[in-house]
Amino acid sequence: MRSGMSLIAALAAGVLTLAGCGGDGGTTGGGSGPGGLTVPKIDELAALGAGEGEVNVVSWAGYVEDGSTDKAVDWVTGFEKETGCQVNNKIAGTSDEMVSLMKTGEYDVVSASGDASLRLIYGGDVAPVNTDLIANYKDVFDGLKNKQWNSVDGAAYGVPHGRGANLLMYRTDTVTPAPTSWSVVFDPASPYKGKITAYDSPIYIADAALYLMKTKPDLKITNPYALDDTQFQAAVDLLKQQNELIGEYWSDYTKEVQAFKAGNSVLGTTWQVIQNLTEADGAPVESILPSEGATGWSDTWMVAAKAKHPNCSYLWMNHIISPQANAGVAEWFGEAPSNKLSCALTADKSHCATFHAEDEDYFEQVWYWTTPLAQCVDGRTDVTCKDYAAWTQAWTTIKG
């Protein structure tokens, strides 16, 4: 009781200080504002030392499995035994949640998607990664290395984990003729009104921008994540119009599988794994990569700038992209692995083919999620682009 009381007293003192003088704001990071965009200077780890005994992880559900979900699905226990690093995992539901969690400073590594990674880099929340210290990095597909969402000026900010595209799924018994273009989900006169679904996140604005990029050349969109005022407004307007057609937005896949099976949804964006599951459960669905191409995601394991357990973090990053672990995750989660050697190790030998893991032509058509910044990510310097905060507020308006 006594210690409890003093704790409360300490809490009181802290709250009062904070409320009184507003705090000192902490670090101010690097430059800010268009033109002055610089990455906070954070040193990468120079050499690997002994493990610290634990590592705090933020991950997508299914990325960190220690056998507690399914005894056969376990790529954590072995790592813990081998390195002595106890893995404490926190599952995040959305990219945005991941960013907030990393900002708490309580976590060491994160499996960030491209719509989170740049925010983390420019926010000074993650450090560049010394890939020399990660033995398995050399086996990662070249198509995933040093990309816009995981590197700055050639400096890697993480190790690629896996990838996938946001496909178009439809029920073959209701949707005829079979669609080949995204136009079906934007057609105001669509016969499937009220049964169309879309991904519930501000990043979905990029799907509309991609469609406009191919259908409205006047807008001169060259990258769906770099939208100036006019381009952004056009995408938002398209989505507001689409909102009339939407039955529901989805963000978790039990919801989407169930909606497609019951017929509440018959047409909309999906992931390969969702289509596989829906089909396996007996619903007549098909998914395609439409003629315009698609958006997609590629997750990156990143290490916190102020990681309390940097050595265990590096050990973890090396482990999670090792051929065996990477194959395990890719199959369990349902995505294309990032390690070339993983394809030989999957239990289902057709896994890499199903998920187009080695098909660079396929992924050529995919615009991976990238955080929109005010400094246009397509390299334009004469205009300001809409940043993610603007995308978020627009998403609220689109949903109405």
Partner: protein
Amino acid sequence: MTLSAPARWALRATMALGLVFIYVPLLLVLVNSFNGDRTFAWPPHDWTTQWWAAAWANEGARQALLTSVEAGLGATAIALVLGTMVAFAVQRFRFFGRDTVSLLVILPIALPGIVTGIALDSAWRSVMGDLGIGKGLFSVVVGHATFCVVTVYNNVLARLRRTGTNLEEASADLGAGPWQTFRYVTFPMIRSALLAGGLLAFALSFDEIIVTTFTAGPGITTLPIWIFNNLFRPNQAPIVNVVAAVLIVLSVLPVWLAQRIAGPEAGASRT
């Protein structure tokens, strides 16, 4: 009140319909825990016990259950102490701001959970974080205790109001010290109220997800969080149904026990 026969029947019918409304979805959970389909297709086309076997072997669920029980017990213990203290203060004393105190106790449950959640989260980060105390199970207990105080407070307050202070005064007149009076007179009087309040506090904590989402530290998975993480993955969703079905069945036990202990007294107090 003498009710006409039709009125009694109407009430009985409403009660029955209400129970149907309450129990049909729960029954569906139970049925779906045997549904062979991973996303609960309706009507079920094949039946299986594989989910029950999988749930039995699921260590994550057991771990989460344990964490939830720990958090619930911690929060309930704090709520019992704090709630009883406030109830005594408000019922046995007149002081300036008495009404405000009762409003203050109710506030954490009356404000939306997301507000409580983000308030505690950001305060914890900026205050406790600076002290080097990260979020963990303890922050969950603190969060839950804050909104659980009210259930104990209300139950004890109602009991104190009914019982008055005669017995305690008699005890003091007969030479008992304050501790003896509390131990032998006051405590037995409020025991069943504490039980009822504590049980409700535990139940609130046990099923709390929103505040927990914002206050749980790394590696802390309570049962609702575990359910949240697993319900949205088709391979896992049926196991969640099993866990829920087990919870429903198990929950009868504490509620029934509490009713038995609190029962006779509750009956006797109706004058």
